[in-house]
Symmetry: C2
Subunit: 225 residues, 2 copies
Amino acid sequence: MSSKYVPMFTSSEENYLKAIYHLEIGVDKGVSTNAIAEKLVTKASSVTDMVKKLSEKELIIYKKYQGVTLTNFGKKIASSIVRKHRLWEVFLVEKLNFSWDEVHDVAEQLEHIKSPKLINQLDIFLGFPSQDPHGDPIPDKDGNLKVVEKSLLSTLLKNESGICVGVNDSSSEFLQFLDKKGITLGKQIKVLEKENFDGSLFISIDQKKLSISNKIANNLYIQKQ
Amino acid sequence: MSSKYVPMFTSSEENYLKAIYHLEIGVDKGVSTNAIAEKLVTKASSVTDMVKKLSEKELIIYKKYQGVTLTNFGKKIASSIVRKHRLWEVFLVEKLNFSWDEVHDVAEQLEHIKSPKLINQLDIFLGFPSQDPHGDPIPDKDGNLKVVEKSLLSTLLKNESGICVGVNDSSSEFLQFLDKKGITLGKQIKVLEKENFDGSLFISIDQKKLSISNKIANNLYIQKQ
DNA sequence: ACATATTTTTAGATAAGACTAAAAAATATA
DNA sequence: TATATTTTTTAGTCTTATCTAAAAATATGT
């Protein structure tokens, strides 16, 4: 029955690596203890402990009070977790009829399943998707991301338009809001008016016109046309 | 990021419940501490600890030195784990091209994923299968099993035949042996000769004839014709 | 620059789940 | 039935991953 499986890394270790992976994007200095604690909803002291362990395992570079950086090894592991997370999200939406606001928590569990064959076959089964249901890129086996040119909707000027290609915030509240407004990936959005006062936009999508706040426009990615 | 999910039961608790569930089949007294320890490849003292905890949670009935029995509640949880395990096995074989000897360890991990929607949708996606790739029944949502009439191949007499419907041993060694001999679920097997001396059988399957040991015949289920 | 505030680390505690060794209970055997 | 053997439980230890509270280091403001 229980053929004891010794995983390379615990789920907790993987979660720390993933958090650091996300936090170090577009930043050139080390990721701070507090930033990790906040992302993982834990205490700074717990982070210090774990960070020492990950450092001993050569997954991150850590010097006291200096924040941390992933090593190449650490990056490899972290991106493999992100890859699994996003492939599972595609599976849930495409095959099991989940909506894009329901997939996160389940994928958060599925990403820790240890089986190289499983994830390879899942990739094949899904037809080698390059993006998850929120438009985020799926790392390939080597951890490489297909970079897609994208801008925040808020950067569009009056009368410019773009295709909706992703979200900056994937909270279910935001995603459900988008659903309600009929805003989904692939839709064309044109900026009809721009309010200088509050940064809100009056846009057209499909045949409809609606106005959206600056906060929304700052959390929607479009591909400029 | 980490929306902390508090699972009803830990993976460890679930594994104990599942072990007890399997061990109490066809037995009318309590399952012994040692039996559980052996099944889970752990120590009797660890079992005693866990058994106390499960008892406090009203999942099992436990009195010192008396062995344990699942309560209805415990049975419900245990069968839901078995249900998940077997549905995942079907998924792996039918959709991801796993062979029947490769699915166990992965399903052992997947069975602990917490998401009622996930397992419901998986069930739908797979077309409500009633058996896993080894011919074992998949409990329905209420824990009920569709009982299938089956006998050990070793109980067939000379010139009787049956359809292969399951295995008693699902170790990968045994399953790979069956693959090698072309014995898969659904195949018709006829007993041409029976050796009294060692209980070995000379059988026909497809167009081929082969002899198999008593041990094999004691681990293959057939449906008599 | 230096006092204050913030961040990070240390020290010590806790809970879960496992282990070993020894004690206690139950079962088997002579 | 008395003794031996096996099974089960208890007691105490260990590891992982947390936590709180306090100390140390770094950063900030005037």
